[in-house]
């Protein structure tokens, strides 16, 4: 087991985001190191802009994680906290997914990652949308995570 395959600790609503973000950053660093060893790749405008895209996704994930932490530590109501956490999960997973694809594309390597079938992202989109569109509250934070 290494840093990228540690299990997720239950009961901590942002552990999943932190974990995905950490993994995304580690993979990005590994990919940057690999690409820097190929002189022609560091001048390739498409490779360069690809890293721009990855960096943006990681920064969004970090910013939404921070936002969800702020919500958790504030007096926001349970639903707003749940929604902010769901958004953070989505952003971190998006960043990790994008970096993982880029790692494979640019280096030919694919670092194994945990799947997340037990906590599917598609239902986070539903949770957020159902509240913002229809005002339907998700199950309380305490039972949802």
């Amino acid at each position: 087991m290494n840093a990228l395959t540690q299990p997720i600790i239950a009961g901590q609503p942002l552990t999943k985001s932190q974990h995905d973000l950490h993994n995304a950053r580690s993979l990005l660093d590994a990919t940057l190191r690999a690409v820097r060893q190929q002189a022609q790749a560091t001048d390739d405008p498409y490779v360069i802009s690809r890293f721009g895209d990855l960096h943006i996704r990681i920064e969004v994930a970090a910013a939404l994680l921070e936002r969800a932490e702020d919500f958790l530590n504030s007096h926001e109501d349970d639903t707003e906290i749940s929604v902010a956490i769901a958004e953070s999960h989505l952003a971190s997973a998006d960043a990790l997914n994008a970096v993982s694809n880029a790692e494979f594309e640019l280096t030919g390597q694919r670092t194994a990652l945990h799947g997340s079938l037990h906590d599917p992202l598609r239902w986070k989109l539903h949770l957020i949308g159902n509240f913002r569109l229809n005002g339907i509250h998700p199950p309380s934070l305490r039972s949802a995570v």
């Binding site: 940057l32 920064e59 569109l133």
Partner: protein, 397 residues
Amino acid sequence: MTTSPRTAHIIRSDAEAIAVAHKLAARFAIEASVRDRERRLPVAELDEFSASGLWGITVPKAYGGAGVSYVTVAEVIKIISAADSSLGQIPQNHLGVLDILLQTATEEQKHYYFGKVLQGYRFGNAFSESKSKNAGAFETRIRFDKDTAQIDGEKFYCTGALFAHIVPAVAVNGQNQAFIAFIERDNPGLTVIDSWDGFGQRTTASGGVTLNAVAVPLSAVIPAHKAFDEPTADGPISQIIQAAVDTGIAVGALEETKRYAREARPWIDSGQDHGWQDPFSIAAIGDLEWRVHGTEAILKKAGQAIDAALLNANEDTVAHASVVVAQAKVLSADIALLASSKLFELAGTRSVLGKYNLDRHWRNARTHTLHDPARWKYHLIGNYLLNGVKPARHAWN
């Protein structure tokens, strides 16, 4: 066109700026669609906007302003743009010029022009040229005599110039160094042409400016090139306002999307009684939500990075501000286009009817995001990350 404005209120704090912006936005939203449809230029709204004090919030405390954070500036522009993105865009160059004044003007000039702004004077702009080689090349000339300067040239994309009290114009000297001349709106030789007929941002009062032997005293000229010769936050300041306008368009479009998606008919295969029960529409709203919030969060980080660069301007802080603002720029362009297009997908065919004029959100997003291409922002960010190359310093980074 009046050459002296209504007396402006002076805003004292960041919180007051945000509160005033919300109040104005609620009023501006009421007729935003009609103004767009009829291309009715927002004359009264602009007077109300600048008289509110919002055009003076970046004037430093030392000169009598509130010197608010750029987090607040971006929030104010976002709030106004969510209601009417043309109105949100109009102060864009005014705010940019205030920082160039701060960076390059003499003390006397700062006191004079900041004072004017606090009184409610609006600066337009005569910066861009549509016929020069690229966005950063200028053919407009400035010639210095003993105590006057003469400016000759032709400008385009002059947002705000039509309703400005003073039109700052960029012109280069024989060494291709850029200066800004502050030209009174009624100065002989200055002609502002109401020629903007773009399909979006229709009421920005953009258009052309011709400068025909315009003479100004030397006290009305600042050495603007110095804002880029040395590392300053001026490029990121210009850019964050762009990103804030686009973020505002996204926020406004998402609100409309939810309103109209609620009323959509259920799709025949969904087995639902109402469109709002459609699981795919619900998830699509969820997707827009996190992307809008991610963009807003990065816009805030960009404001903080600019504040840090203003406090301590050096190559590193300015490069960092440029990179974070570029992130906000990419995200805001993407989400403005996505939200304003998803609106129709989720609201269904009835939402394209002319009477709703909902296409204005997409037209505004598409038009305003063309200001400078997001594709080169990915490159800017990636080059800094991969190769440690600092962004070029100009008004588009």
